[in-house]
Symmetry: C2
Subunit: 154 residues, 2 copies
């Protein structure tokens, strides 16, 4: 394979990744719309779910969003009934955020179930070596993405 063909392959994959990122964002926007949220709120809810109870400061650290943006996110999530704020029982000066589990898991899962099943059926067509290659690819991509997000915040 010539240098040009190699470059063409890399170019096609790059374009594919760009399209994939657009498709992913539009899918999550559609899920978020169903939940009455924007896509940043939706992904923050996912992060709160995995790290609760959480302070606004910690959510800001984990997401790279400014504290001002995070306050707005928590306000909207609280208003929509997905999370609530309470005083930290271990330090009454601190406010922590918790998820209303039944509402959040029920509503998010209802909208992601069909997507999850389709992806699962697709992934099962790959053998174990290929699954490992994909896992490794996403590990590297996540490292790059998080580093670049942090750079943008500086």
């Amino acid at each position: 394979m010539s240098t040009n063909e190699r470059e063409n392959l890399l170019h096609l994959l790059n374009e594919q990744l760009r399209h994939f990122s657009t498709d992913t964002i539009l899918f999550h926007q559609a899920v978020a719309e169903k939940l009455g949220l924007n896509s940043t709120d939706h992904k923050c809810l996912d992060i709160i779910l995995r790290n609760q109870p959480i302070t606004a400061g910690k959510l800001s650290d984990l997401t790279g969003l400014t504290t001002g943006t995070v306050t707005g996110v928590i306000d909207r999530l609280e208003k929509a009934g997905y999370v609530f704020r309470e005083k930290d029982p271990e330090d009454r000066r601190k406010v922590i955020v918790r998820v209303h589990m039944e509402k959040a898991e029920g509503e998010i899962m209802a909208h992601l179930q069909s997507f999850g099943q389709s992806m699962k059926a697709m992934l099962e067509q790959y053998d174990n070596e290929q699954i490992k290659l994909l896992f490794d690819f996403f590990e590297r991509s996540r490292d790059i993405t998080r580093n670049e997000t942090l750079k943008l915040k500086k």
Copy 2:
């Protein structure tokens, strides 16, 4: 490899994909913040760039967003100076949207350049067969993602 190990591999990749989608959305949110936009506006700008001149109706079709949401998106993009509306010279009853190319390409590219370089260096470590496997994986994932987005819109 036992059934359990296979299931574990698939589970790990699934979790990885979920994290990757969160990281991607937060990265694009960070780019959008730099541009003074939200992430949906930012991705719509990308789609307008590739399909201009475009009507609001066509943008709604391509994104799956409601016409109401699309109007808000174009308003914000116009206010931020990235796009402008004009009457379609071929049909004066129609309004079409165009991009202020210099501003849009200059500002978006400035923020994506470092990310693009890091991804390129990472992708170059894969051989052609692996690149093809990744391309094919993203092709399938995009089909699923777009189908599921359309389902959510019904």
